[in-house]
Point group: C2
Chain length 423, copies 2
């Protein structure tokens, strides 16, 4: 078989990073490959595994991961109540673009409410001609749309912003407040039209039915154009931790604007100035002022393999792989640097590349075993580029950590360690 | 707000089925809408739900659906052992294109083996220059690809093929041996190249490490070009029921060719004629002969909403919605008929439309409350069209049921019932 293997076309890479396909295969066999595949010794036709001699387990109504796996959300120490705080997606153990719903990050302000889908009501009121009340069964009758989008907490990656020394944890431990799902629901604009927004209605207040009454203000025009009332996540009903039975999705916008356990939207003339947009989720500037209503999550990328706390396997072939996203639209490119940011090489994004969605990037790499710093830098279709940590820090007060999107650098040591560093 | 709502653009529909957007909104408000939203009576600012007065649940390492949901796989009565048979995806309760991994259909020949990922070995042997043995850790070092593809059991929809009267069950009860995931793994062709296939190697045997030793023969060329050794499903490690820790994926090919719990591939000169391709998964013809090696799943579509066993809510607006797929490539169009198949109207496929992948279709519809038969018909990009049941039955012996892909018709009654019928 001499056929080209189309998806692994190393000729599309630069020669600097990637060897030719022929050279890669030779290297894989001689170097990394020798550590990977080994010549077969046993007589394979007689190779019977223990699992082939014992009938397996019966069928189950709802499946779970193998008991041999231990990939879990990273639970942070809780805050003022057991349900206040966050848990992070273990992004270093995940692949592709979809986050399995069981591992979607959590950020709750007072726990996960237990809501009966049959009893839940959703209200549209305030500056409307006709205040409306919907059951979920009523919402289920409207036309639906399905879209793949990320949700990222505004506080994601804060550990790198705030800690004077780089925290030595996993990629998920730093950046795991990002997840990506296929969301299905009803366009908010349709329901606002049904209620009939009065001319003086310029904002909405979206409120959660959780015990924190989490609520945010959103400009009416963007809510009407972009808002989705989500009923389904990755094919099934929303998970409790993501807002069951109803959440607002503002694709690409800061996480807590995507109000979970949504029970009312009030049309208002101006922002409501809730506690969640005054005491939190603002950006402290150097002059003592604060930016409020910073809606859109900026572009970011994280190399998840290799990443912090992993151990390299010695010199040889590696696939550098990670995730990238931007609240402004599609990712245009992700570049990788191996020389402290002097030169950059484009990674592959084999697709799909959706707007306001996690995109997987990959780059084949032959490691010579010497100490090296690996960084990734995302650029979105609007031209926004991930800044360096220094450039990011220069914009804000030392206390600011929301929407931190600086370049992540991993220090790979000759001793096979992978460490978080600031460059 | 007078803005157009771009994704719900009824002007793209034919006038015959869909009213104009203006008319729809009027109808929604006066008819179906009146049953949906109701005017608000309570003072909304004071509307406090019970969940707002009690702290919610704490964080969890791995999430599950709400306890208020009861969407489960449909377990068929088991066969000769508790792990022999199938369970079906409840497609009538799902949305979008992704099947949540917990609800992916199951088809096992002797249960779900319990395999330790650290101990599992995968062999390539037979007509190769260099027989190879891989651990999963070794496979993890190769370049990966991620793709969204369906897997459909060759026996899916058999109830409609075999039963002389239409079975009155849900859409999932008939057609639920279809699921769709984002799969990530290593291209088989790369590993076959590493082993070095001898010129006389023209087929492979792929064998499972389950207690049935489930195995199939696949032509080498297609296995090399299209085969993926899957390690991840919807972002996390493969689920046990889908082949943990390793399965073969032949996108678009009959389900059991996507061998789960894969432990060896043997390169052979000709097909091995295993029990799973001689006693089963062949197509019985009228002349007493059988077609063997029917690899590719033909195009199919199923309206999942409304569908069998559902109850309509009286006249008014409905969104007709369903799933469609073809093993030959992308779906080119799905058409809906309301008049027994005389005329057909194109449904919307808002996308994404991927090759060999489930695609969601939607069509707004105003039901007048009278008895009507609703059918969907898929055409793929190669021009393959779903046949009528009569045309399909005419090709085979009465005992044949594999790869049944005839048009599904639902009889909607004036009494709000939805029944499976043959047309």
């Amino acid at each position: 078989m001499k056929k080209q293997n189309p998806a692994f076309n190393l000729s599309r890479m630069t020669n600097k990073i990637a060897p030719s396909r022929r050279k890669f295969l030779k290297t894989a066999l001689a170097g990394a490959g020798a550590a990977a595949a080994v010549p077969l010794s046993a007589k394979a036709d007689d190779y019977i595994t223990p699992s082939m001699t014992t009938p397996g387990k019966a069928f189950t109504p709802y499946g779970m991961p193998s008991g041999h796996e231990d990939v879990k959300r990273l639970l942070r120490p809780p805050g003022i109540s057991p349900g206040t705080g966050g848990s992070l997606s273990p992004i270093e153990s995940l692949e592709g673009m979809i986050t399995p719903s069981g591992l979607h990050f959590e950020r709750h302000h007072n726990g996960v409410p237990d809501i009966d889908i049959k009893a839940h009501k959703f209200l549209i009121h305030g500056l409307v001609d006709k205040p409306l009340e919907f059951t979920i069964a009523a919402l289920d009758r409207y036309p639906r749309i399905s879209r793949m989008h990320f949700v990222e907490c505004g506080g994601n990656s804060a550990a790198n912003a705030g800690s004077p020394t780089p925290p030595q944890v996993t990629a998920g431990g730093i950046h795991g407040l990002i997840s990506c799902s296929e969301w299905t629901g009803v366009q908010l604009g349709m329901l606002l039209d049904e209620a009939g927004v009065k001319p003086e209605g310029k904002w909405i207040l979206a409120e959660s039915a959780d015990a924190a009454g989490m609520s945010r203000s959103i400009p009416l025009q963007e809510a009407h154009e972009q808002g989705i009332l989500v009923l389904y996540q990755n094919g099934e009903r929303l998970r409790p931790e993501q807002g069951y039975p109803l959440r607002l999705l503002m694709p690409g916008w800061e996480g807590n604007l995507n109000v979970k356990w949504l029970h009312r939207i009030k049309v208002t003339a101006s922002p409501t100035m809730t506690k969640d947009e005054t005491s939190k989720y603002t950006q402290s500037l150097k002059d003592g002022k604060a930016n409020q209503f910073n809606f859109i999550q900026p572009p970011k990328s994280v190399i998840t393999r290799p990443s912090g706390m992993m151990t390299m396997n010695g010199p040889g072939y590696y696939e550098i792989s990670g995730i990238t996203w931007s609240g402004h639209g599609k990712i245009a490119k992700v570049e990788i640097s191996f020389d402290g940011g002097s030169t950059w090489t484009a990674a592959e994004m084999p697709g799909p590349v959706f707007s306001k969605c996690v995109t997987r990037f990959r780059l084949p790499w032959e490691w010579d075993g010497k100490a090296v710093v690996v960084q990734s830098r995302a650029t979105d279709e609007k031209g926004n580029v991930q800044p360096t940590r220094a450039a990011w820090k220069d914009r804000f007060s030392p206390a600011q950590f929301y929407q931190y999107n600086a370049i992540q650098a991993w220090q790979i040591g000759a001793d096979n360690t992978v460490k978080n560093i600031y460059v």
